[in-house]
Symmetry: C2
Subunit: 214 residues, 2 copies
Amino acid sequence: MRDIYHDELDAIGSLVISMARSVAVAMGRATSALLDANLQLAEEVLGADASVDALRNEIEDRCFQVIATQSPVATDLRVVISTIHLTADFERMGDLAHHVAKIARLRYPEHAVPDEVRDVLSQMGQVAQSLITKVAEVIDGRDVELAQAVEAEDDSMDALRRKLFTIVLSDHWQHGTEAAIDVTLLGRYYERYADHAVAVARHITFIVTGERAL
Amino acid sequence: MRDIYHDELDAIGSLVISMARSVAVAMGRATSALLDANLQLAEEVLGADASVDALRNEIEDRCFQVIATQSPVATDLRVVISTIHLTADFERMGDLAHHVAKIARLRYPEHAVPDEVRDVLSQMGQVAQSLITKVAEVIDGRDVELAQAVEAEDDSMDALRRKLFTIVLSDHWQHGTEAAIDVTLLGRYYERYADHAVAVARHITFIVTGERAL
């Protein structure tokens, strides 16, 4: 039979999953806002960021309560501490979606990104979605094997970022420095989003195995 | 009289301060490597990053031990949890110094940054040093007032970053897209370094007041 303590850990776990969903939605919308110069979607992302931050604070407060009142040890302690860590990663992923949406808004009604990088950025958006979806599954199932798949998929994000830079640095780039800077920062935001997804996957591996990734 | 438990918290606190010193040295050297095209300094930064990461793991493990064996509550619990958070910030600050050093190494023996942005980047390096020095004092003295000064100084980093972008985006920029991308990323790295300094200052404020910054 479950006790109140483990019910609370489960409840916190559900909040973590809904935080994952929120940052998935945020980056999905931010990518659409960017690729389609959709101002309304950009505004939705910018407006939703505060609720991600609030969710983080709630989760952290409840983790504090658990530590203070239940003195968790071993796996439970790793769950609570790792949860505090990974909500920080999720909050940052929400910030990065926010940054992407801000560039879309800044350039509206123009498209922020020239046609020739559109395809790569679209793929980066898809990898971001795939990563965060996997990460939610890793959390839900404490799936260490899938956590390794997240790391592998991060490599494809890095490859896309290199491809993006190759295009911007080619002699054929005709869009000037401003667009180059936008694209550089966008590449960085997607890359960092993926890095945080990897960090979350590693926190789950740590929960399960007690071993930190090197 | 102090007990073993509080001695251990003090010992962890000393490790945190030495972590702050390490990331201060790292960014100081990375900035010199960048401004003077000094390969040896760049290599030193790149070689030292692993010891920052190791320090973080040691601090986190000891925090775990304290939670598991001492069941800290109230301020002590906030100290332990905030320490876990802020070592993550310091680790990231070390990574950012690493990124700056990597750009210096990549362009060596050339200077990575054109003369006209040298002054702004030098100032960003100085603000970074000032911030991390203040942050170490904030931690050491649990100084909430100084924590607010850290936030104010972060504003000057943001202003420098805007200045940097203005130069890169001006019609007078003659250094092409590659240098523009380097400078954009460098601006971002210093800005993020400052953001993490602010995050650390906020963790200390949270320890003292129990209130989170909005």
